[in-house]
Symmetry: C2
Subunit: 388 residues, 2 copies
Amino acid sequence: MTTSLLRVPPPQGLLRPLAVPERLLLGPGPSNVPPRILAASGRQLLGHMHPEVLQVMDEIKAGIQYAFQTRNQLTLAISGTGHCAMEAALLNLLEHGDTVLVAVNGIWGQRAADIARRLGADVHELLKPPGEYFAPWDIEEGLARHKPSVLFITHGESSTGVLQPLEGLGELCHRHGCLLLVDAVASLGGAPIFMDQQEIDVLYSGSQKVLNAPPGSAPISFSKRAREKMLRRKTKPPSFYLDMSWLASYWGCDGEPRRGGRQEVPVSIRDLLPPLCPQGLESSWERHQANCTLLCQGLRDLGLELFVKEEARLPTITTVRVPEGYNWKEITAFLMDNHAIEIAGGLGPSAGKVLRIGLMGCNSTSGNVDRVLRALRDALGQLRRSRL
Amino acid sequence: MTTSLLRVPPPQGLLRPLAVPERLLLGPGPSNVPPRILAASGRQLLGHMHPEVLQVMDEIKAGIQYAFQTRNQLTLAISGTGHCAMEAALLNLLEHGDTVLVAVNGIWGQRAADIARRLGADVHELLKPPGEYFAPWDIEEGLARHKPSVLFITHGESSTGVLQPLEGLGELCHRHGCLLLVDAVASLGGAPIFMDQQEIDVLYSGSQKVLNAPPGSAPISFSKRAREKMLRRKTKPPSFYLDMSWLASYWGCDGEPRRGGRQEVPVSIRDLLPPLCPQGLESSWERHQANCTLLCQGLRDLGLELFVKEEARLPTITTVRVPEGYNWKEITAFLMDNHAIEIAGGLGPSAGKVLRIGLMGCNSTSGNVDRVLRALRDALGQLRRSRL
């Protein structure tokens, strides 16, 4: 070979084999991935229009319909994180000048409002302090005042640990000519949700929480009302990647011959949903509730104060106030360094105020509750002693 | 348990274990994934702010800088496909009313023009028939006439099999006050590209072509000129997920403390780039060129007509005209059914006209050239006989 034309050398670090430490991931996500899904991630690829892949896509669709409790035809998985699904929901539903009402009681409402403004929507916010939730009359007042075409609300507010009650909200929205858009990234599979019975128009989640899969596949579904609004659009959404008219065709949701999408589907996402099937959704909800109750009791026994009132606690992510005299960063670092357990501090409006402990999917066990409580007891003792 | 509230039953199909057939993927992507990367995909997850992950991100960044031959600080991997990176490039660079010139000689130029229009840009197209490429004077005339702020051009046009020469285009664009945006999804690692020396302002690729990884991680890099244009924006881009100001912070590209992104990074993407390192980029380019030359000779020996002139053939994806009297669908189906080999028909403007054969990354071997030529010879013989 002649003299090399390369000016930038190859990085030596990449040639070392990668070591991934064993860790118990009890933060707000990702959660640990069980062997079945890890094995699926390690399988060979297929082409995105191969018959086996199209069949897998149909199975994924049926799995999401079960997890969402919906019969919506327009149900599919987006190749992106839960955050990407939030954008897909907003950018397909909203057009420049549309009025949207966003219920903000944590970071996800803030984020949805930010994205809706980027899309040129007329955004109104309903505000509650972090740790609180919205009552139907709060929502009704907002609907009557702002006359939005879309209401955004978060079912599982992972930044604060709040589970938003959804009963009656769909009917309320529809009485006001508004669509109901629900973020269930942190709650799906861990707390009951019934898309059709609760009249939710757009629902989405992520893969790396209760579903215990790597990030990168986000289930989403649209009601007939939501599809009708999208069909009435005067302008195309500002993305081709997330344009539902194309995705619907690729996923065979519109009764026409499929058009090849540009979103290759990792076959492994088929393995997201079975954990919810053999044991059943209801048993998964019960398990998450039972282990959350155990955890809350244990945290109180340690003298800690829970951040959210009992009636609105998210069963997948529990928040406690950072105890007086402690620094949250020292506590999370202690658990990571001494117990190989991840828990998290707050995020957005809860930053600095809380610790967050996630028990999601296969991580929601009484053994893990014991393990994290022992580690916390150790941390509180050691860190107090180091100050004396 | 009381009576079930579930109205949608669990799908039985998902409970069957998934069987993934062995296939040689010689279409335009995805390509086969070698054992090293499959094993990495099967590793446990870490949190997106764990120190190991931040280090992996630095290593990925250095790997992309090597593959792109750039020293750009703003170099990272997006959590999405190559198509997602195209959107990220366009939506960060362009604002409503910006003038953009798109070189269209296949589907990727068409797609970029579509996305730019969705973003409200003033889009002008430079057109060439599929199979042809642009000369510097074609580009210069377009720049002088339309005075765009961005020129989009495709290095490896996977729909037609054309490799676009890039020499001098960066300098030309800069003389006209325009930025050069290059799509290298199908060419990176298989054909020489020198981001800094060729004065390319934005360059992106995908993971499922020459890099032989699952889809879902897309390398991208921005020059100083491109960053300056982004800093001058009057409006935020219509996406938070792909907003470079956030991604730059999460990837530690702006010299400030990192802000947690909402794009969890699959640790396995660290294993994308090593295949380019030990053997070296130049050896990879030579191997792709040598096997493409072997394949072209073999195709001519079968009596087939190559679609692209010799001086502009993409070494990763070769296009031949569908031979007279044959249906392309019967040929691709024959190879899939009888030889477990995927090759593809045309796409967009080349649909119905060509067959496409990809030899990418670990799939670019003389053994695979022999295998696909034998399979094609068999197909042409058998399908002819069945007509007699």
